[in-house]
């Protein structure tokens, strides 16, 4: 594999074409040397007989048709991994950028990762307590789940993600090791700094591996960043037996990078100019969350994406929602009411919740309380729109109770402090306090037995308002 090709046949955006190559493989990594000094990496994205189309990581600036040497590596992109990657910081394709030197690697892993055989998966069932009521009670996070945060520009998704990292007891209780893999794609410097500071302050920095492709870094590398990060996560989870939480932000930048490259390749676009394979491509990332049967570790994903123009039907949140196991949706109205975290519970959902809560996991009444809170809050919205037409004074007495319930629910159940860490039992008890504001016959999602046990049971000092 030492043949070097001198020169290129065309350069267009991040793509270069090389003719007269032999033995080039689809998806292979190539190394360029520009002016005999500067090294760049690239990936073959199409091959025809002796012609290869190569996507260059970093930029193609300075490359000319004459000054570039190209060498085929015969491999896909690989990430050197070792237990020492915890506590380190890498760039978007896995090169150390923290000045601590190269990784003394144990093994190298293909970053593309093969699909996990559904037969080899273990269905996730373990509840992760995040200390955030809206999540724990209503969109429960399960170990091994992929649960994205759908947000918008200016909403506190980073604060929420950081709070989850700080408060989630991923393994401490059982004495198992946990770790965080953080992948930044096209985010601003201050966002990366914010996360680093948060990890530092909560004393977990030596359990965090960071992969940073910032807004100013090359777009092509952005395509590889989540893959590299997930490869590290899988190594730590399945080879080292750790429980890994992967934060990926911002998926919107990732998808835009994909669109940019697709359009330079002159592919036929589907919705909003995104390539037709956006769904399959996102799936190869999100589906890497999970638990492998017979192995101790797990990979839990919290991808963050900003919905362009807060539009949940935009292709990025839409396709993401079809792949992930639920979503946590942040809402600008709640943000306007200064409620933190501004989680709009109605479109939020956790698909794995049903099997990870209830007796033996959280408490027997969890599912019923959650259903009732959803139903009652949904009713609140109806009453509100009615009140905006006929005025609050003319509402029926029950409807007025709903309004009070809605206010209290938003302010004190969804709303909490950024450092407030509630246990699930506190959260459920709080839920019952709110439900007691409504007449018992309005609670149609809870069966009689549970109502008897919890609705009438009040301890002194438990009542609010």
């Amino acid at each position: 594999m030492t043949i070097e090709y001198l020169g290129l046949d065309s350069i267009s955006g991040p793509l270069v074409m090389l003719e007269g190559v032999q033995d080039a493989a689809y998806d292979e990594i190539v190394e360029f040397t520009v002016d005999r000094t500067k090294r760049k990496l690239g990936r073959i994205i199409e091959v025809y007989e002796d012609k290869a189309i190569i996507q260059v990581f970093e930029s193609t600036a300075d490359m000319s048709l004459e000054n570039t040497h190209t060498r085929l590596t015969g491999r896909s992109l690989e990430l050197p991994v070792a237990p020492e990657i915890l506590g380190r910081t890498f760039d978007g394709v896995g090169r150390p950028i923290d000045g601590l030197g190269e990784i003394d690697y144990v093994t190298k892993r293909d970053v593309n990762g093969d699909p996990l055989n559904p037969v080899s998966r273990e269905y996730p069932r373990n509840f992760i307590q995040t200390g955030v009521s809206a999540i724990d009670a209503l969109t429960t996070l399960i170990r091994g789940q992929k649960l994205p945060i759908f947000s918008g520009d200016g909403l506190p998704h980073n604060d929420l993600a950081a709070q989850i990292v700080r408060q989630a007891n991923l393994g401490e209780t059982s004495g198992e090791e946990f770790g965080v893999v953080f992948a930044a794609m096209g985010v601003k410097h201050d966002v990366a700094d914010y996360f680093r500071r948060t990890f530092e302050e909560s004393g977990v920095l030596d359990h965090v591996t960071m992969f940073l492709n910032l807004a100013s870094d090359p777009v092509v590398e952005r395509i590889m960043t989540p893959r590299v990060a997930l490869t590290a996560a899988e190594y730590l989870a399945y080879d080292r037996g750790m429980h890994i939480l992967v934060i990926m932000t911002d998926m919107t930048s990732y998808c835009e990078a994909l669109r940019e490259i697709s359009s330079t390749k002159q592919e036929i676009p589907s919705r909003k100019g995104y390539p037709g394979y956006l769904y399959s491509d996102l799936a190869t990332l999100y589906e890497r969350a999970g638990i492998v049967a017979g192995k101790p570790g797990s990979v839990t994903q919290i991808p963050i994406l900003t919905m362009p123009n807060d539009d949940i039907t935009h292709p990025i949140p839409d396709l993401t929602g079809y792949i992930t196991e639920g979503q946590i949706v942040l809402d600008r109205d709640l943000q306007g009411k200064t409620i933190y975290p501004p989680i709009n519970i109605l479109p939020s959902l956790s698909r794995l919740m049903k099997d990870g809560i209830g007796e033996g996991y959280t408490r027997e009444d969890h599912q019923s309380v959650a259903n009732q809170l959803f139903a009652s809050y949904s009713r609140v919205n109806e009453v509100r729109s009615l009140a905006s037409v006929i005025g609050e004074d003319d509402l029926a007495p029950t409807d007025k109770k709903y309004l009070a319930f809605g206010r209290e629910f938003e302010q004190h159940f969804i709303g909490q402090e950024k450092d407030e860490n509630r246990t699930i039992l506190e959260t459920l008890e709080h839920g019952w306090e709110l439900l007691r504001m409504l007449p018992r016959e309005e609670l149609d999602r809870i069966d009689t037995q549970l109502l008897d046990k919890y609705y009438n049971h009040t301890r002194e000092g438990d009542l609010i308002g």
Partner: protein
């Protein structure tokens, strides 16, 4: 296996061979030195195009392409049930044994276990004339299902040799048949059939028997017939998959083919775990004993996703030919359509609506047309029902896949985002959904459930539609100003929505409900309506009626009355009478 070409170009799952080749259209081929499975999808003088069913990374131009001479086929025989396959019928448990937890490329596995010996009972004699479809042998495939081995369609002749009853592998010949042209063929338990060609039948019947699912909103309001087609469209989080699971678990089909097409890996794991544990209400054995799973999860190769739908339906048709009622769950057909779009894009075909290829509609049509209640070649009767989930982009039903599907299915169970937000499950909208089978099935309901069933269904639908138009008014001016008879409609509709339409999949009694109970529940609700209406017409205000707990008691009938003690329901009518008389006594 002959080499008929060498790779010229590679673009994702699409591989080109330059120049004119001897490959046939739709032929199954092995591509590259890893021998990845592929299919020829276009031929011309300049190049041959092949779609590859596995990941092509690492493949190089110049590698060989081998011909098999056969169309893309599946192997049919015992061992299909209680098993999980990928999109081209490779058993995932075998792949795990060979390749470990990840599906690596180029794994060579047989579709069916070729070493396992099955106890076979032969049913034909020497000298007997047989035709395609004639049942020649029986094998107890699983505890629940008796597998009937048949002469492949297109073979016809006289049996010249029969093996003795005993244990055979799927490949050992059982009978020899002298065909009409005097050639002799051997027939074993396993046989092949091309996935894109429907298995032939004798005759197609009109649908007349419902596929009973135990889900009230389906069985009562929008029923599907055995051999029918239904689509479940809904945005993410509206409960498509949940609903497919419920139907797969509790429907009265003999066999379930569950196709996880481009969906989540954990969902397939869940089905596999759940169905192995759950008991089949009909036989008492585990549900997996009557189920086969086809899994092409969203991160598995996209070309195999396109094939998975055809693989699934071919397996279903095979069991139909034995005389079974088969139901297919396809979750989700949108991922299949998107796979078509992705491949079409790679082939640089001219796109039609939203980038989908122009042949989208005809592909959807040919798929759903393979459903039906049939008289098979061997004279038995069997059916294939298709229930396909549709995942419309942005939850918008006007997109091409939903619209084209709507044209070819007769049952439309539209899932509503608003209902899902309220956690009203199953979130089937009673305003958007429809079933064109109601008329076909009314005779069955009349003869088997109650002469009045269809009439009661109509009344329930009427109340729901009246409520919907009243709610438009309520949203503007509140419910207080409505006259009492309209308030009653709203209240009864509430009872119907909460007590009848809403069904709790996690409640042991409520998760599946027999038709008899559904009928009686309707009866009680309508009886409450008639009695209350009489009271309201006497001038009693709704607020007075609502003071009685009879309304909320009827809502919880679904939990309080066990499915096997339907007599308890008559008690409720007496309670309604008491409520009626009491109000008359105290207020008249």
């Amino acid at each position: 296996m002959k080499q008929l070409g060498t790779i010229y170009g590679i673009n994702g799952p699409v591989v080109y061979i330059k120049g004119k080749t001897m490959f046939r259209m739709s032929e199954m081929v092995y591509v590259g030195k890893n021998r990845l499975i592929g299919e020829v999808i276009s031929l011309d003088n300049d190049r041959t195009t092949i779609q590859v069913y596995e990941e092509t990374s690492g493949m190089k131009p110049g590698e060989p392409v081998y011909s098999t001479g056969q169309q893309m086929s599946v192997t049919l025989g015992p061992g299909i049930l209680n098993n999980i396959f990928d999109g081209i019928e490779r058993p995932l448990k075998e792949i795990e044994k060979q390749a470990g937890q990840y599906i690596t490329k180029g794994v060579q596995v047989e579709s069916l276990d070729t070493e396992k010996k099955w106890p076979v009972r032969l049913l034909v004699e020497e000298g007997q004339e047989v035709i395609g479809g004639t049942i020649i042998a029986e094998v107890q495939e699983t505890k629940t299902i008796l597998h009937k081995s048949m002469i492949p369609p297109h073979i016809e002749g006289r049996v010249v040799e029969v093996a003795a009853d005993g244990e055979y592998t799927v490949e050992e010949p059982l009978v020899k048949i002298q065909q009409l042209d005097d050639t002799v063929v051997e027939v074993a338990l396993a046989q092949k059939w091309p996935i894109r060609i429907p298995r032939p039948v004798h005759n197609r019947y009109e649908s007349s028997v419902p596929l009973i699912t135990g889900q009230r909103v389906v069985d009562t309001l929008f029923p599907i017939a055995k051999g029918g087609t239904a689509a479940i469209p809904g945005g993410f989080g509206t409960g498509k998959t949940m609903m497919q699971h419920q139907v797969a678990k509790y429907s009265d089909a003999d066999i379930i083919v569950y196709i996880g097409c481009g969906e989540r890996g954990n969902e397939m794991t869940e089905v596999l775990e759940d169905f192995s544990k759950l008991e089949d209400p009909k036989s008492g054995n585990s549900l997996m004993e009557r189920t086969t799973l086809i899994a092409n999860t969203s991160n598995m190769p996209v070309a195999a996703r396109e094939a998975s739908i055809y693989t699934g339906i071919t397996l279903a048709e095979y069991y139909r030919d034995m005389g079974y009622d088969v139901a297919i769950m396809a979750d989700s057909t949108s991922r299949w359509a998107e796979a078509l779009r992705e491949l079409s894009g790679r082939l640089e075909e001219m796109p039609a609506e939203e980038g989908f290829p122009a042949y989208l509609a005809s592909r959807i049509a040919t798929f759903y047309e393979r459903a039906g209640l049939m008289q098979n070649l061997n004279g038995t009767e069997g059916s294939v029902s298709i229930i396909g989930a549709v995942s419309p982009q942005g939850g918008d039903f006007s997109e091409p896949v939903t619209q084209n599907t709507k044209r070819f299915v007769r049952c439309f169970w539209g899932l509503d985002k608003q209902l899902a937000n309220e956690r009203h499950y199953p979130a089937v909208s009673w305003l958007d959904s429809y079933s064109q089978y109601v008329d076909d099935l009314s005779a069955w309901y009349r003869d088997n459930i109650s002469p009045d069933f269809v009439n009661k269904r109509r009344q329930i639908m009427e109340i729901l539609h009246q409520e919907s138009s009243l709610m438009d008014v309520v949203k503007l001016i509140g419910s207080d100003v409505l006259p009492d008879d309209q308030k009653l409609i709203i209240e009864i509709a509430r009872v119907i929505r909460l007590g009848f339409l809403q069904q709790n999949a996690f409640h042991p009694e409520d998760t599946a409900v027999p038709l008899e109970k559904q009928e009686k529940m309707m009866e009680v609700i309508l009886y409450l309506y008639r009695r209350s209406k009489a009271l309201v017409q006497m001038g009693m205000p709704m607020s007075l009626l609502l003071r009685n707990d009879i309304f909320s008691r009827i809502v919880s009938i679904k939990y309080d009355v066990p499915n096997d003690q339907l007599d308890a329901l008559d008690q409720y009518k007496e309670d309604i009478d008491r409520f009626y008389n009491q109000l008359i006594d105290t207020n008249a």
